[in-house]
């Protein structure tokens, strides 16, 4: 009993310490780079047909509203363009591309319970040389027993839309984190 209560006390202390550290974390310093985010009309309209029932995932539409706000704090300056910049003062050109998506369906009423998207990033310099390439995995899950307002109980258009939005949002967050920690981008930032 004594050992058990000590274990609980130590666990609680460790949890409190980790919570304090997490709360007190410094916000990430943006990379001192002028970056251009290329969101072409083709990318914004991109759809992936995959999954058990060949569903159509409008991932591009979700990404074009999510990526800019998610990456805003990653670079000292971020401009959005709808084509590859040929001139200008950008030091880094970021080109996203969806490579895959998939879903896991529950075996009750065929509702989707998990969605995964794979977003590939190519970071180039102004001369067109590739500096960094990375595939980011975004995921979102849905609790089938939880109630969602306005949801179609079968394939669930509202549910699918929300899962796409959440998985793309997760991919955008992961992208920002990967870019911040990429040694290749840090090296470019230091050289300028």
């Amino acid at each position: 009993m004594m050992i058990y209560s000590r274990f609980l006390l130590v666990s609680a202390a460790a949890w409190a310490l980790s919570a304090m550290v997490a709360y007190g974390q410094e916000p990430k310093i943006p990379l001192p780079l002028k970056a251009s985010l290329v969101l072409t009309p083709e990318f914004c309209a991109s759809e992936i047909r995959r999954g058990t029932f060949r569903e159509r995932f409008a991932v591009g539409e979700a990404a074009c509203t999510t990526l800019e706000p998610a990456l805003k704090g990653t670079f000292s300056s971020l401009t959005v363009t709808n084509a590859l910049p040929t001139s200008g003062n950008s030091q880094l050109v970021l080109v996203p591309r969806f490579v895959d998506a998939g879903t896991v369906i529950g075996w009750y009423l065929l509702t989707i319970r998990q969605m995964d998207v794979f977003l590939e990033w190519t970071a180039k310099d102004m001369s067109g040389k590739t500096l960094w390439l990375e595939t980011v995995h975004g995921s979102a899950t849905h609790d089938p027993l939880a109630k969602h307002a306005g949801e179609d109980p079968l394939m669930g258009r509202a549910l699918l839309k929300s899962l796409i939005a959440n998985s793309v949002k997760d991919a955008a967050t992961q992208s920002a984190s990967k870019m911040c920690g990429a040694p290749e981008l840090i090296k470019v930032a230091r050289s300028h």
Partner: protein
């Protein structure tokens, strides 16, 4: 023989009571069956163990080019495929190959692995196998048409399992990435092969582009 009226009445009541009780139990049994099908049960979930990872140079099929080392493990064995993917991929026309690429550079040389640049002569690349759900759909439609609840449930489970397998194939796939110094990358490539008969030797060529330059290193393997 004449049975006294009160005994006959008692027997009739007992029989009716037992029948009601049996009926109630049957109802309960059916309800339990339906509920156990409807409520997600982790015991029934498919399990996908992670493929064991070793250093790239430890694999029997490996190659070294400068600071880059590639090692592959070919999963020709159908039982092994079943263990890691819950399905046999070779009869579906795909050979799973576990790839480990390691960048042992101490300096600041990063290399880019671009999956779209992987070439396998005489085979189409960049294809991810999809576990077919046609059987599940067929079973479900037939079961629904026949009014079979159990058949429909089995078909739903098959469709759900299929989606889980497809998802696992996606998650385990080797993706485009940048190998910073001291970093390794791993994952599966699904190489298209004939569905029947012996497969030919696979010649895998992976060009690795040096970050920020036009310089490329080709990693080549035959297995």
């Amino acid at each position: 023989m004449l049975i006294p009226r009160h005994i006959e009445e008692a027997l009739r009541l007992t029989y009716a009571s037992r029948m009601r009780s049996a009926g109630r139990h049957l109802d309960q049994l059916i309800c339990f069956g339906i509920l156990s099908c409807l409520i997600p049960n982790p015991c029934f979930a498919l399990k996908f163990p992670n493929y064991p990872v070793r250093a790239a140079s430890d694999y029997s099929v490996n190659a070294e080019q400068g600071s880059l080392t590639i090692g592959v493990q070919v999963l020709d064995d159908l039982d092994e495929q079943k263990t890691y993917f819950q399905t046999k991929l070779s009869p579906k026309g795909f050979l799973p190959v576990f790839v480990v690429i390691q960048n042992a550079a101490a300096a600041q040389d990063s290399y880019i692995f671009d999956k779209t640049k992987v070439s396998i002569p005489s085979a189409a690349t960049n294809a991810t196998p999809q576990a077919s759900s046609k059987a599940a759909m067929g079973t479900m439609l037939a079961s629904v048409a026949a009014g079979s609840l159990v058949g429909s449930m089995i078909a739903l489970k098959m469709a759900a399992d299929t989606s889980e397998i497809s998802e696992e194939l996606l998650l385990k796939e080797l993706r485009s990435t940048t190998l910073s110094p001291g970093v390794s990358v791993r994952g599966f490539l699904y190489i298209p092969i004939p569905k029947k008969g012996d497969r030919e030797k696979v010649h895998l060529k992976i060009p690795m582009l040096k970050s920020g330059s036009e310089e490329a290193v080709d990693l080549e393997l035959v297995f």
